[in-house]
Amino acid sequence: MTRTTTLPHPAPRPAATTPVLSVRDLRISFPSEAGTVEAVRGVSFDLLPGRTLGIVGESGSGKSATAMGVMGLLPPTADVTGQVLLNGRDLVGLDDKALSAVRGADLGMIFQDPLSALTPIFSVGRQLSDALRVHQSLTKRAAWDRAVELLDLVGIPDPRGRARAFPHEFSGGMRQRVVIALAIANRPSVLIADEPTTALDVTVQAQILDVLRVARRETGAALVLITHDLGVVAGHADDIAVMYAGRTVERAGVAELFDRPVMPYTAGLLAAVPTVDGGERRPLVPIGGEPPALVDPPPGCAFADRCRVAADACRTTDPALRDIPGHGQAACLRAGEIADGTLDPAGPAPDGTPGPVTGPAAPGEVVLRVEDLVKTFPVTRGGVLKRRVGTVHAVNGVSFELRAGETLGLVGESGSGKTTTLLEILRLKRPEGGRIEIAGTEVAGAGAEVQKLRREVQIVLQDPLGALDPRLPVHHLLAEPLQAVGADRAAVRARVPELLRLVGLDPAVSDRFPAALSGGQRQRVGIARALATEPKLLVLDEPLSALDVSVQAGVINLLARLRRELSLATLVVAHDLGVVRHLADRVAVMYLGQLVETGPTEALFADPRHPYTRALLSAVPVPDPVRERARERLVLAGEQPGATRPPEGCVFVDRCPLYRHAGAELRRRCRTERPAPTAVDGAPGHRHACHAA
């Protein structure tokens, strides 16, 4: 089933009631080799019954440590001070036994990874009824019945039958539903969700956020929603606390915060986040620099070094969180000026403002041509004698073209075959089915030719820390591709500083090891390495998903500049549609190994034709509470099935909202005929594969 829903508006601030959860000056520190890490440095908040507090921040901002501190789940080495008052009772300093009585009863928890939150050896019904019986006196039978009710509440189809199933028999989204059922089992007064949807695909994320809302309504619990995604809090939180370097730097109602942030960090974060909606693509404004280390935090405001409007006082005084008239609270010395409009938190326009994010693609030569690419994997069973029991059609007849100076974004959820497509191109061997042509040469797998083609195709991998050998300093990392194509030492020595400057790094970093670089710097090294051999085609596999928002924007702008300057053809694989919108000239949407829609970015985002593309775009939360809550959302049911036995006709047919309303004749076509790519009238290059659109 597919629902079209809108989100409710933020709850009006209730009249003075007692908060269910009060955190007072919470401080958490961990010992480490380098010294004491002050992960949380004085966080306070009140949570009123039935309200949702969104805590947002980047990695290392202390948001998860805060959640763990509230739940009493920190490792014993952590030093916790302050107060966590749950219904007036202080949880800090309670022993594990006393805390266990509170956790799961008054305090429900939802974690990021639903697989590790469930015990693999018990059925979900057993786990739920155990959770109920620990805190309530129920008979086994009553507990089981209640467990089935809970599974029904969180939208598990056939709850009575599925209660006997084990966690591994559920998909990721269904597992997270079970975790939510566990969290609300004992009607807690507070729910804490730590990045509840980060591990999930975007269409599933939309479902889970809805379930979370239902769960909250049913139990009347207050919710602490911790996330790095500004879109998620925009749609689902009533109040927002922004964390930076272990402190709350701004706290306000969701509407005020997004409308007029008064802390320069919040403003910067909002300017740096790529979005899928709204008119023209605006260039993203990165926040320069990186968050400070928390071993020995700076004496002044932790954000001062990255702040465009920092005054001298900011570097010496650490501002406390204080009330800003008509605008919640902020920890900024200049918040008053920003709030009354006399100071722009973005500061004076930086020199060399980035130009247009993407220009019209110059009509370059075709660098990559993929025709009817097919890749299958055998499904085997048995240990010693492997029997082939099926075939996964990972890539099933994919065709596209990529020209010099052009960026193609390949998007789709996990399991859609986008990464397999990319690996097939990089393998430089004759594909299982179809043709691949790079720079005019057909990939056939002959030795000498492969060596020649290697120069032309390079890759940037997802996790920059994993992709760089930790034992090699930057110079040697960059030298490697050059040596692989036979460059001598003098050539390498000349090229390395040139490459570092090209990606905006100081050549002095060349004798550092990857561990001594920040995330953004590492990804720049990864990009420099890929550019070393002056390739014609650059392939980027989720190049930004390991980076924080404030750093992402800088890399997006860098990639846009490089593509323009070097007239590179780039193929970007990403699941984040906002990122793709800012990187790509053209977008290809994949589902179950097939392209369902391709088109110029603007046309495709403004007027998606295929029902899957529409649902995908609709599922991405928009970081603007007004638009996010006003828009019609198309929530797609179910999850992408495995590609072992794809439907004979349209691959999307089982989840398709159009199919459900289609007439008998159209239904028959969708079931039996695979739709061919059809051009959209009046939009050159925009094609979709759907019978009904």
Partner: protein, 297 residues
């Protein structure tokens, strides 16, 4: 963006960078100094005494240390100082070369099998597992006895029967390393297989190899001792620390100097190898605190 002056050019040779990081570690340098002293002792120590390990002084049987016999004498009237000098040299050569050879052979076979995979990997593992279940000590004893205790043969034999367990460990660690992103990245860059093994797999096994190298030295001294004790290793009149320990073990209470001096040398050798091993590991490991301290600019 400041341009870097030529004088501030980064260390382009990896070896020089590793050396700099190694020299920064005081304990490791102590270890090297200790090893150098031990080597000097084994090479030049003989010049300080008129006796050689084969000489017998029938006027002084089982004498405690004095002015003529610095480390005393044993039951046969051999000078313990001269024997220790010779025994240390013999043991050093055997232990260090066996250990180094074992680690090299194990690293090449382990990483090669893991990286190449497929049929080569399966066959290598089959041979390795077969050798592991063969009672190697027995074969070792028989082979070395047949070859009449030539210490060079001992090196070969100890290596041939000693590489398997190290190779097994290296193989299993390498199988996880070959799945790493940076190995995949190198493949996509077109780096050749031998180079990937040399450049990415072996250095990342660095600390493992070094632990095995240092432990190997100690273990070889011990197995050489055991063989010599059973009469299969170094044969009289040749002397090693092992034969000396075997001789001295029976008289620890009545003539402690016979045991104490060779035992002390084994301890010094072990300590120096451990210090060097730790230092090398820290120098090769970019995340280690000791190596990096002050090294970042």
């Amino acid at each position: 963006m400041a341009t870097t002056p030529e004088t501030d050019a980064p260390a382009h040779r990896l070896s020089r960078l590793y050396l700099r990081r190694f020299l920064r570690n005081r304990l490791a340098v102590t270890g090297v100094a200790l090893l150098v002293l031990l080597v000097l002792f084994s090479v030049c120590g003989g010049l300080l005494t008129p006796y050689t390990y084969a000489d017998t002084d029938f006027t002084a049987l089982t004498r405690p240390p004095d002015a003529t016999h610095w480390f005393g004498t044993n039951q046969g009237g051999n000078d313990v100082y001269a024997s220790a000098v010779h025994g240390l040299r013999r043991s050093l050569v055997i232990a260090v070369s066996v250990s180094a050879l074992t680690v090299v052979v194990a690293a090449v076979i382990g990483t090669g099998a893991a990286y190449l995979g497929g049929r080569i990997e399966r066959m290598t593992l089959a041979v390795l597992h077969f050798l592991l279940v063969v009672p190697s000590f027995l074969i070792l004893a028989l082979v070395s006895h047949r070859l009449a205790g030539d210490w060079r043969v001992l090196i070969v034999v100890l290596t041939v029967f000693g590489w398997m367990s190290t190779a097994r460990v290296i193989w299993s660690v390498s199988t996880s390393l070959r799945e790493r992103d940076y190995v995949r990245a190198a493949e996509f860059m077109g780096v050749s297989a031998p180079r990937i093994v040399r450049r990415h797999l072996i250095p990342n096994l660095g600390s493992l190899l070094i632990v095995h190298l240092t432990l190997g030295v100690v273990a070889t001294v011990l197995s050489e001792t055991a063989l010599s004790f059973l009469g299969f290793g170094v044969q009289t009149p040749d002397v090693s620390l092992g034969t000396m320990l075997a001789d001295g073990a029976g008289t620890v209470t009545s003539a402690p100097w016979l045991f104490a001096f060779p035992a002390g040398l084994v301890v010094l050798l072990t300590v120096s190898m451990t210090l060097i091993g730790d230092g090398l590991r820290d120098a090769l490991d970019p995340t280690s605190v000791t190596g990096a301290a002050g090294g970042r600019r």
